[in-house]
Amino acid sequence: MQSFQEIILKLKRYWAERGCVVQEPYDTEVGAGTMCPETFLRVLGLEPYRVAYVQPSRRPADGRYGDNPNRLYKHQQLQVILKPAPEDVIEQYLGSLEAIGIDLRQHDLKLEEDNWEAPTLGAWGIGWQVMLDGLEISQFTYFQQCGGIDLDLVPAELTYGLERLTAFLQVKDSVYDIEWAPGFSYGFVRHADELQYSVYNFEMADIATLWKLFELHEGEAMRLLKLYDPKSPGKKRFPLLPAYDQVLKCSNLFNTLDARGAISVTERVGVIQRVRKMAVGVAQAWVDQQGGSAAAEVTQ
């Protein structure tokens, strides 16, 4: 039986052999691997890039106190970006499944329409959910827009749900029964995490404090964005990456407030707009800073 970590190692090796930079997880909380600068900013502009990394992704509302066998507050995604997408990108993806021991001739594989959209990032793409024997194991997306900007090169984003994939391979009904490493179960490694964050996110997070933090991070991001001067000769050293971290903080705070039930439906739209404004601002400035198409057109 392949352990969780063996599967990850094999996938990383597979993509390393196909020219990917193998990155380590980003060190700020994110809701999905897409939000890491390695994807969100790198897909912009004309520079080809290939990267693969595992990203622990936090979805506060999906927490279930460690009780539900399929739902997690934090799950691990393997995120692969191939920019631009090679012609045989689907074949390469299928090859990665074979590399972890799935004989696709013995299984049922379907690509079912599933277009991806992240309103807080001004990003969307066209693609599929990959269904293996009725189980969604990956999301496959051709990015079209990011930060409200039409992309010059169209990247393929492959997102593997690692827990699901491993449960599939290890034939486990509960994610907590997955073997992470020989002798260590997923539950042993992560259960406390799931329980305590569920308690915090649903019961104990202080709403006023979270709002205050949201406003502080938002203020810092907006302050920096206002200072960015596209005409400045020293613009290359301007801290846009730190500004983007502030956006990520806001995004995670928004998700936590949402899970805490502190955001009404009407407020929701407004807060999403605020995060989007920051993300789009960073993306536009980033394209300019990289010296790409200066006239990055933002489509609202």
Binding site: P69, Q106, D108, L109, K110, L111, I126, G134
Partner: protein, 679 residues
């Protein structure tokens, strides 16, 4: 083998007159002559997986675009799988003969400038133009000789445009910004005319003679000819024809008692290249959950057919359609079973935990759920609905159902399976001991969701459904949210259509005007839905609908009854002549701008005029069915003998008043002047 066409014109082809380009380009006349031996043509657009629901439309569009090329052919066939759109045509000529094209220009009397302009556009001198006599007069026209060309050349030139011209509801680019757009990336193209490759390039892909088989059971590159294409694909586990795939699925499910679901079957046919059914099972303990929930999970989330036992009850088994040839190890079956088990466990968890808080106790929670920013929360909506339900004649059960029917929006089960809203509320209400009338009304209150859907099952449920829809319509129109074109986010058309159906088919004797308030926009919106319902759904003729609606559309039950009477009257011999006379009456009154005035019987001339009036007095108030035969000869005679526009103003106005009276009296069922007659 099809007989070769040596010569032919497009007019000899079975062209659909609606779509035939010749018919549309009325001002261009062409004679196309073909020559050379008949050829087969094959076009395969190889793509990554196209969304199943878009495929049939794309094929129809491809057919249309090909037919616009105006190439003579004997027959045409379109096929598709998720990874290929295929067009095959038989009997194409090798080349088109020289032809003459004649383009009609301005009329003879047109200014010289216009004539010169036309000549210039045609690449000719004004003196090259000829004058032609047509039915409409003399016109300049230009004749030019268009040299014939090899069909291969024409195809090579036009196919890129044909391919990229196929309409899809949502497209993408993949070769880079500004690149071509298609539904999904194009990865290969086969284009063969007879034995030859039709050479062209689309999105960096060169046409050739190599296709691709099933992603895992077939080869990636397969050499094909126009003749062996379909068989070669089959050898590589691709069944090209959707009909064949459908037939295979149905055949291989013979003997299994599935709940028939043609829409799901259609989806699966276009999700697979080599479909094969497989039967799985689930723990019978899950059958404790409501069937509605189990079926939704299987149908909408897993695309499984559900099975029933001999008594028609849900059986603990399902059929999944694989896109492969078999499952000798049982991996696929057990994998699908595991996924379903997890989903059912989720559903059971929600079903149990939702019930810890009764539906009735969730009412206040609705204050946090926004219905629409300007229209408040669902709590506000529920209060309005309850009031409306009472106004519509609903009893205490209807009022309670109206108050509770939106509460399921706060349950986890509905958050997970939004398509079950209403149904879930009904199920919880039943489980929590609400009376039948209440839970059934909650369960049914979104009905009818389409033209085929049943009405809510009883009076109480119908009243609650009406209250919901009317509140949404009045609210949205009140704040200016009026659907335009395809934009209808609150599904107001469906809501209005539902109201019309419930009122008519539920025989609600209620004035629509009262139900929708005095909103003119909403009234116009309803008129459109009423017209659509009676014309397109019920099959009344459009002029019958116009005629009856002109006499009032305030009460839809009454309108439906009048429509039936007019429909029954229509074939009777007096109907059309009388309708023609009413049209004449209307025209005369309109021309005279006469909208009523005093009538004096003493001014009537003896003879046809007086006879008409006497007849009117005899039959006024009688049903139109018996009046019509008596009225017709008198009116005919009147128009035959009497000049309405009498020189004496008093007499003229008196005759107009007589006609006006007739029109008013006999337009209570329908305004017969709206009937289109052949007279």
């Amino acid at each position: 083998m099809k007989p070769p066409i040596i010569e032919g014109t497009p007019n000899a082809l079975p062209a659909d007159p609606e779509t035939s380009p010749q018919m549309k380009r009325a001002d261009v006349e062409t004679t196309v002559e073909a020559s050379g031996l008949a050829q087969r043509f094959l076009l395969e657009i190889g793509t990554e997986e196209i969304p199943d629901w878009m495929i049939p439309g794309a094929l129809e569009n491809l057919r249309l675009l090909f037919e616009k090329l105006d190439l003579p052919h004997e027959s045409l066939r379109l096929d598709a799988t998720p990874r290929r759109l295929v067009l095959r045509a038989w009997g194409l000529p090798m080349r088109l003969r020289d032809r003459e094209e004649r383009v009609q220009g301005p009329a003879k009397g047109a200014p010289a400038q216009a004539v010169a302009g036309f000549a210039k556009k045609q690449g000719a001198q004004p003196e090259d133009l000829i004058l032609e006599v047509t039915a409409k007069g003399e016109y300049y026209s230009h004749k030019k000789r268009v040299p014939g060309r090899p069909v291969k050349e024409i195809l090579a030139e036009s196919l890129p445009g044909v391919i990229l011209g196929i309409y899809f509801p949502k497209t993408m680019y993949w070769t880079g910004k500004g690149g071509p757009r298609f539904i999904r990336p194009i990865r290969w193209i086969v284009a063969l005319l007879g034995e030859d490759i039709v050479p062209f390039e689309v999105a960096g892909v060169r046409s050739g003679a190599l296709t691709s088989g099933h992603r895992r059971l077939g080869a990636r590159e397969i050499a094909v000819t126009a003749t062996d294409f379909e068989q070669r694909l089959r050898d590589h586990y691709v069944i090209l024809s959707a009909e064949d795939r459908r037939e295979k699925i149905v055949r291989e499910m013979t003997g299994i008692r599935i709940k028939r679901d043609d829409a799901l079957l259609g989806t699966l046919v276009y999700l697979t290249e080599w479909p094969k059914p497989i039967v799985g099972s689930f723990d019978p303990q899950f059958l404790e959950l409501p069937e509605e929930v189990l079926i939704t999970v299987m149908r909408h989330h897993q695309k499984y057919f559900s099975l029933e036992d001999a008594s028609g009850k849900l059986a603990p088994r399902f059929v999944a359609i694989m896109n492969t040839d078999g499952d000798p190890q049982g991996f696929i079956r057990s994998g699908n079973e595991r996924v379903l088990r997890a989903r059912f466990n989720d559903a059971r968890f929600f079903w149990d935990s939702d019930q810890k808080k009764k539906l009735a106790d969730r009412k206040q929670d609705l204050s946090h759920v926004t219905f629409q920013a300007k229209l408040g929360s669902y709590l506000d909506k529920a209060a309005r609905m309850a009031k409306l339900a009472a106004e519509l004649g609903g009893d205490a059960h209807a009022v309670r159902a109206a108050e509770l029917c939106k509460c399921d929006l706060t349950t986890e089960l509905v958050k997970e399976f939004t398509e079950l809203q209403g149904v879930v509320g009904g199920l919880y209400a039943r489980a929590q001991g609400e009376p039948d009338a209440v839970w059934q009304a909650i369960y049914d209150h979104y009905k009818p969701e389409s033209m085929d859907d049943a009405l809510p099952r009883n009076r109480t449920a119908q009243i609650v459904a009406l209250a919901d829809k009317l509140d949404t319509l009045r609210g949205c129109f009140g704040v200016g949210m009026i659907p335009t074109g395809s934009k209808d986010p609150f599904a107001l058309r469906r809501a209005a259509q539902g109201v019309v159906r419930i009122l008519v088919e539920g025989r609600f004797d209620l004035p629509l005007t009262g139900l929708i308030g005095g909103d003119d926009n909403l009234r116009a919106f309803f008129d459109e839905r009423i017209r659509y319902y009676f014309k397109d759904i019920r099959g009344f003729k459009y002029d019958e609908v116009n005629a009856c609606m002109a006499s009032g559309a305030g009460n839809l039950v009454d309108l439906a009854a009048r429509l039936e009477r007019v429909q029954a009257l229509r074939p009777t011999p007096d109907f059309e002549p009388l309708a023609a006379s009413f049209k004449r009456i209307r025209n005369i009154l309109e021309q005279a701008k006469f909208t009523g005035g005093p009538f004096d019987a003493a001014l009537l001339e003896p003879g046809p005029e007086k006879e008409l009036h006497d007849e009117y007095l005899r039959i006024a108030g009688q049903p139109i069915e018996s009046a019509i035969a008596k009225l017709r000869p008198k009116i005919d005679l009147f128009f035959d003998k009497i000049l309405v526009n009498a020189p004496d103003e008093r007499i003229r106005r008196n005759r107009l008043a007589l006609l006006h009276t007739l029109r008013v009296e006999f337009s209570k069922v329908a305004d017969f002047s709206e009937i289109v007659t052949n007279l």
